[in-house]
Symmetry: C2
């Protein structure tokens, strides 16, 4: 059992004039984080609902636009210079004492999945803005410039594609992506709605190494930190994802007249494959996961033997080589199942997301920041995708995780205790100040 | 291997004046059966399609009405007295030499499933009409009166409920059934479209034992007869069906951030249950079958662990006691799977169709009829529902099956070789003549 010491947020800011002399270190007030997360939660709240009913602040929606305005007002109140880039990302900049140095970039997103929670993205975004406010209140100037960022539409709520703003900023747009229509509008129109400039989206490109580093605070969305009683997770990297589409072809026939031995039941084969995925993924040590999340049966009638099943197999791990190997095992098992059940099983790689490693030097800064705050840390991979993985292609990247109660996310039940939110904000603060001081 | 002797349809009808003196027995010409099945197949054929593209002659549709007119014209041409009952069933009657005796009833249906085949129902209906035509051509009178019947909407194509005409004739209408709307019309309106009288549907009731017996010729829709090389199946009875609705409740969570050991994956549990159904059903000898045909996963997203699965389990066997016992085994296994996977599994009986036994005396008549034609026979249950099961509640019932190629039915690929159709028609003829002679 790891001893978990919780840092208690202080209302009394230390007096300091420069971040490099942090004898009495400044601290973010937990009350501010809480009140701002609660204030943001009303944009996209269910009519008549409460904070506990979660939020539907889907990217590019009216609720998203209202939430963005709330955050931009906070940024301006903190004295920052605010701009929206061509992809709709919001940047709030604060000068440093040495304008020749590259700025430190930090932030997250504020859009949610439909029927999501109030911590995913919001905590990291509002903590970033709180840092600007704190330094403004203290009249403190860091050595490097600081830039807080709120990425546009991080969730896969527009045409099923995630990391919309950060991906465009990293130059990873798919061909024709801006013409794709979802929820009744083209993505170009969606970006224009939030203040972007889709006709010149290339202007959103962040040149490689134009920032000193990128740091993102986020809720874990898994149950590891809570289970281990650790306040701060130091992310090693963001996992690689292989998405497979599988088609199982059997033969649809009368469920009453076809003897069991003569069946070519596509759902029986698909069930075997679903269990095989779990067995193969758990057969070796490690944090790899495998999921069959989507399954469509045809004709899907009570009294007809399933003739076809379309399903997905998703594999994730920090190691691309490991999930490629596991995928081949699933494929081999699929071939054996096809023979056994007299079905055909086709498995095609539909998508591959490369893993994104966190920079070791940024991980060290996060660790020492948590240590100064008396917080236990644990290294872990991120099983979820984050804007940080796009930034990792452009600059040194680091991520801080805080515990999610019961590992629940993308749900109104998503919860991170306020103390853990405060701790996370202060680890981010300490990390940013340290990075900005060098 | 059973020796299968095929009877070759004769064009030369034997000369006879009464069915009781069948020294040179009359025979139905295979060419007539084929030409009439082909003629009927145009009603509901795909535009531009051929016979091999199957048929969509859904009950109560315009195609059904056109097909019914074709069949009624054939009946009238055969000299029969034709009437439509209040439920829309078509009866074609022919007098017997002894009007004090109860008539023999025989027939089937001509409606199809959407995208179905040209043999299911059509063979039995057109063979029944061909018997009337043959006796008319021969100027032969049987001792008992004969009634050929074409039941209305046998398939479950209107609001998912099957045996619509025969069920109303057997007095098994569900409360409010005629008000149920499907395909944009109430069932009462649908019945009126085809010439029925829904305001007095009770007039369709067939009094118990008002007929001597009911005989139905039908394609097997399974692969047993073809596999065993048997021309004529003698149906022991129509199976009992238990339909269960199962709800598996897990917990939907992020597929990337939730470690394998912490998952409550409803689809993993459902897959185990699907395989358990097959294992339990095949663990003991017998013709029982079990099918998971329908499955809906929620939220059914690639990157979310399935939180809920709704699925069906259907069990069929001649013995209601056996499927009740198998259902309890599935339930017990479900409880164990729920514990193992930390999910909840609820299983509710949603429907029970009682089995319908064929009358032993009618089975004997069918056997000896096939034997006189030199055709091998095999006793088998019907795994599918048929209008005959409704008649079994009113009178002695028998069914004749002929082989389905590869056991395929409810598909454009449904096929019974013309020789097997002719054999079936002649077994029906012999059976009806024998029953009508006593």
């Amino acid at each position: 059992m790891i001893n978990r010491r919780r840092f208690v947020g202080s209302l009394a800011y230390g007096v300091c004039t420069a971040a490099s002399s942090r004898a009495a270190a400044p601290r973010i007030d937990g009350g501010i984080i809480r009140s701002q997360i609660e204030a943001l939660s009303v944009f996209g709240r269910l009519p008549g609902g409460t904070f506990q009913d979660g939020v539907s602040r889907v990217g590019y929606s009216d609720a998203d636009i209202a939430g963005r305005k709330y955050v931009m007002d906070l940024m301006r109140r903190a004295g920052a210079s605010v701009r929206i880039d061509a992809a709709g990302n919001i940047f709030a900049s604060r000068s440093g004492s040495d304008p020749s140095l590259k700025p430190v970039l930090f932030g997250s997103h504020i859009d949610s999945v439909p029927n999501g929670g109030n911590f995913d993205g919001d905590l990291g975004s509002l903590s970033a803005v709180a840092i600007l406010q704190l330094l403004h209140d203290l009249n403190t100037t860091t050595r490097r410039p600081l830039t807080a960022v709120v990425w546009a539409c991080e969730e896969a709520s527009f045409s099923g594609v995630a990391l919309n703003g950060s991906r465009l900023a990293a130059g990873k747009a798919a061909p024709g992506e801006l013409a794709v229509v979802s929820r009744g509008m083209a993505k170009a129109e969606a970006i224009r709605r939030i203040g972007g400039d889709p006709d010149h989206v290339e202007r959103a490109l962040i040149p490689k190494d134009s920032y000193h580093a990128y740091v993102e605070l986020h809720i874990e969305q898994g149950g590891t930190l809570e289970r281990d009683g650790v306040a701060a997770g130091v992310v090693d990297g963001i996992v690689s994802i292989d998405d497979y589409n599988v088609v199982v072809t059997g033969f649809a026939n009368h469920a009453g007249t076809t003897p069991m031995a003569q069946r070519q039941d596509a759902l029986v084969a698909a069930s075997m494959l679903t269990l095989a995925v779990r067995e193969i993924v758990t057969a070796e040590p490690g944090a790899q996961v495998g999921t069959v999340g989507h399954i469509d049966v045809s004709p899907n009638a009570t009294n007809v033997i399933p003739g076809e099943v379309r399903m997905t197999v998703e594999l994730r791990d920090l190691s691309s080589a490991k999930i490629a190997r596991l995928g081949e095992r699933v494929r081999a098992r699929g071939a054996a199942i096809a023979t056994e059940t007299r079905t055909k099983i086709e498995m095609k790689l539909a998508g591959h997301n490369e893993s994104a490693g966190a920079a070791p030097e940024v991980q060290l800064v996060i660790e020492s920041a948590a240590s100064r705050l008396g917080l236990a840390t644990k290294h872990l991979p991120s099983g979820a995708g984050h804007d940080a993985q796009m930034m990792a292609t452009l600059m040194p990247m680091g991520m801080i995780f805080v515990p999610s109660v019961a590992g629940i996310s993308h749900s109104p039940k998503e919860l991170t205790h306020w103390q853990d939110c405060t701790n996370g904000a202060n680890v981010l603060l300490e990390t940013v100040l340290e990075l900005a001081s060098k």
